[in-house]
Symmetry: C2
Subunit: 327 residues, 2 copies
């Protein structure tokens, strides 16, 4: 059984808890806007990670479920607000929240998902004395997410972004929430300090791998498999690791061709494909895949502090899944 399949039942529990937690909202418009993305599916990677991390230190997955759902709400709140900021009109094959309900409603729905997430944290089976720390872990992660999002927006106005800047940005914008998932799960499962540190770092590393692989998929996948339009990052001029490294290395005509297509809304399909081929032929895609694989390898090494168990094995598979998934 492949990694996600063995957790089908758990994903059902996550979805039920998630949608139920939104039911409490009285205002119909607010509730509908809040439920728009959570109801449209998703892989639930962060809740899964939290529950498996909890199990890996001897806890029960049930205890980590509310915290996991809180992470999923935070993730969805950032999607809602990011889509407003980026003026994106579609996501997951449906209209974005602000395109459906209006910008004020989307800002508010994001805020309410954010608030609701923090209401769920005490529902977790954590020791009463740990609940405050759990909230603080989550709050810090969201603060760093905001730093990452601002850094990403700043990139748009920069001519040159270094690979290290990119790594820092995705650390903040993507990896910290995976880190908070693994750390929180460990706190709820009452893991020892050494395990908490290792799981936090494991979460961070697979989060970095996840994001680089996401950027790779945008180039090498097709829309049907990926579930969203491909070559979008090129059209939007997104400064991915591959683009950044290409800009450092390439000279002459290839550089000019790539530059003229990046961020060009009117680029034709063949121009987009040519840009992709330039990144491919110059070895940038392979390089990014290597970086992602290296991060996953490092992440798995962190797990040695955990007792040998099927849950540890699942965390290894989880890490591999980050950079083998097709969607």
């Amino acid at each position: 059984m492949s990694f996600p399949e063995q957790y089908k039942q758990r994903v059902k529990s996550i979805n039920a808890y998630l949608m139920n937690s939104i039911e409490i909202i009285e205002n119909k418009k607010l509730k509908a806007a809040m439920a728009h993305y959570p109801g449209a599916g998703g892989k639930r990677l962060r809740p899964l990670l939290a529950t498996i991390a909890c199990e890996s230190v001897g806890g029960s997955s049930r205890d980590a479920l509310p915290y996991g759902v809180a992470l999923e709400m935070i993730h969805n709140f950032t999607l809602v607000h990011d889509d407003v900021m980026d003026e994106d009109l579609t996501r997951r094959g449906i209209k974005t929240v602000h395109a459906t309900f209006g910008i004020p409603e989307a800002i508010l729905a994001g805020d309410a998902l954010f608030a609701r997430a923090f209401e769920l944290v005490p529902e977790s089976g954590a020791h009463a004395a740990d609940v405050g720390r759990l909230s603080a872990v989550l709050a810090k992660a969201v603060r760093l997410l905001a730093e990452g999002q601002q850094m990403d927006m700043d990139f748009e106005d920069l001519r040159r972004v270094r690979p290290a800047d990119y790594m820092k940005m995705i650390d903040l914008k993507t990896a910290v929430l995976f880190a908070a998932a693994a750390q929180g799960g460990c706190i709820i499962g009452e893991g020892i300090k050494k395990q908490e540190e290792a799981l936090t770092e494991y979460g961070r590393l697979i989060g970095l791998g996840f994001q680089i692989w996401d950027d790779v998929l945008d180039l090498v996948s097709d829309e049907k498999t990926f579930g969203k339009p491909v070559l979008n990052d090129i059209r939007n001029g997104k400064k991915t690791l591959m683009v950044i490294e290409a800009m450092e290395d390439l000279r002459g005509r290839e550089r000019e061709e790539l530059l003229s297509t990046l961020g060009n809304e009117h680029a034709t399909q063949s121009q987009l494909e040519r840009a992709r081929d330039i990144l491919d032929e110059s070895g940038m895609i392979d390089h990014a895949i290597n970086v992602a694989n290296g991060l996953i390898k490092d992440a798995k090494r962190k797990l040695v502090v955990l007792p040998d168990s099927k849950h540890r094995k699942c965390l290894e598979e989880f890490a591999d899944y980050m950079v083998t998934r097709k969607t």
Copy 2:
């Protein structure tokens, strides 16, 4: 010494803690956007309430300071997002956050203030076992704020709003945060359950009084004293208690005159003043003042469960200040 003057020193401590808590932000643009409103002053009523409530049950004001600052951050985050939603360009005599930094930056600054608030909660001197509950109190308050804001936005499209709807809306949009201030202060000060319930209700009632008085000031004050343009609510067509009651009661020409000015951006100063006079002469302003005074009286009655002390006296003065303040 009048109510706010006796807390000058405390307001200084609140301001220092507030601005210091924003200093941790690395991204310069994000930090500046977050500091824009907190740095422009404000009465710090919510932190003051939290610290005095804490003292009133025998706690130390210092212990409640971080929680109080968290409330102030939440308050400021809602101002930032509300201004985006309402497309307002000035506040507190300065340009709004989005007018200064851009809409994406304002959305993000609000989110980051929100997150930072929840990071501060564990810095309070609450029992470790109470920190989780403190976070949950704050989270629930923010969720209800969002319900109130959506309800307020829904009012814009409604022809008829009943007085009870208005009371519910300001309960959610304004009073819950005052309630959370008093309740949280009591939790930190380790008040007993009866005191916590009484202080929560006290906070809610003075919050309602605060909002009704705010609507009154918009009509009876002048710009210089009020510190912001007056008669704005009439121009914006805001459905205040006074307007709602007038719409229930008035008939004939006065009703027509009022209706033609409400929400009319092009209304002249004399039309605005005429609308104000209609509300005044029909007794609506006096009625609202009576309602506000009644709420404050009820609020003060709740305080009987507290030990007789100068802090209880201060809470009485605090309540009175809500409906006597000029700004």
